[in-house]
């Protein structure tokens, strides 16, 4: 059984927005998570597939991946 997470960097360090078992999650719940993912992407977040150290940017939701959302960045 594989558990995946959608996490987001925030003031608390990071927050888990969703957690699911890849084999048992319902299509409806998966759709809800994907909608949340897309909403964050529209806000300028970067999404990274951090499964097993892959650390690659992604632009589409992948239900088989651990995903980290990084807020938009700017020069300091």
């Amino acid at each position: 059984m594989t558990v995946r997470k959608l996490r987001m960097m925030c003031a608390a360090g990071d927050e888990t927005l969703a957690e699911w078992e890849t084999e048992t999650i319902s299509p409806q719940r998966l759709n809800e998570i994907e909608v949340e993912f897309q909403s964050k992407m529209r806000q300028g977040y970067f999404a990274v597939n951090i499964t097993d150290g892959r650390n690659t940017f992604i632009s589409k939701f992948d239900s088989k991946a651990d995903i980290l959302l990084i807020p938009a960045v700017r020069g300091g």
Binding site: V48, P71, A72, G76
Partner: protein, 130 residues
């Protein structure tokens, strides 16, 4: 009566996240020194917790880069974000970050050599004069 577990602080959570992300070599360096290096195509980056990222080219510090998250977050999150951006799209880092060229530091070897030359010249002049 059981002991209450200590609450996990945002700093501790973000440090844990950074440790999950970093490759082994960078992780070891980070745990020892609180900073780590990332070797990119445009330079080598020393990503520090409490100061700007130092950018090295040909072994010399060429610039420093300053990148911020658009939301308030612990500094380890910023380090993780910088690493992930640099390892995926280095050009994006250069587009987003403020880059400050390094000021050329005084090379003390040159100053020492110039001082020695001056002393020798004075010595020569004094010898001839007397």
């Amino acid at each position: 009566m059981g002991v209450q577990p200590e609450p996990v602080t945002p700093e501790a959570k973000s440090k844990q996240l950074l440790c999950e992300i970093l490759p082994l070599r960078a992780l070891q360096e980070f745990l020892e020194k609180d900073y780590f290096h990332h070797v990119g195509k445009l330079g080598t980056y020393r990503i520090c917790r409490n100061s700007q990222t130092e950018i090295y080219r040909k072994g010399r510090r060429a610039a420093s880069g300053c990148l911020q998250l658009s939301v308030f977050a612990p500094s380890y999150d910023r380090m993780a974000a910088e690493y992930l951006i640099l390892s995926n799209n280095e050009q994006l880092y250069w587009t987003k970050a403020n880059i400050f060229p390094a000021r050329r530091a005084i090379d003390f070897r040159i100053v020492a050599a110039a001082t020695l030359d001056l002393v020798l010249l004075l010595n020569l002049a004094l010898t001839r004069w007397w």
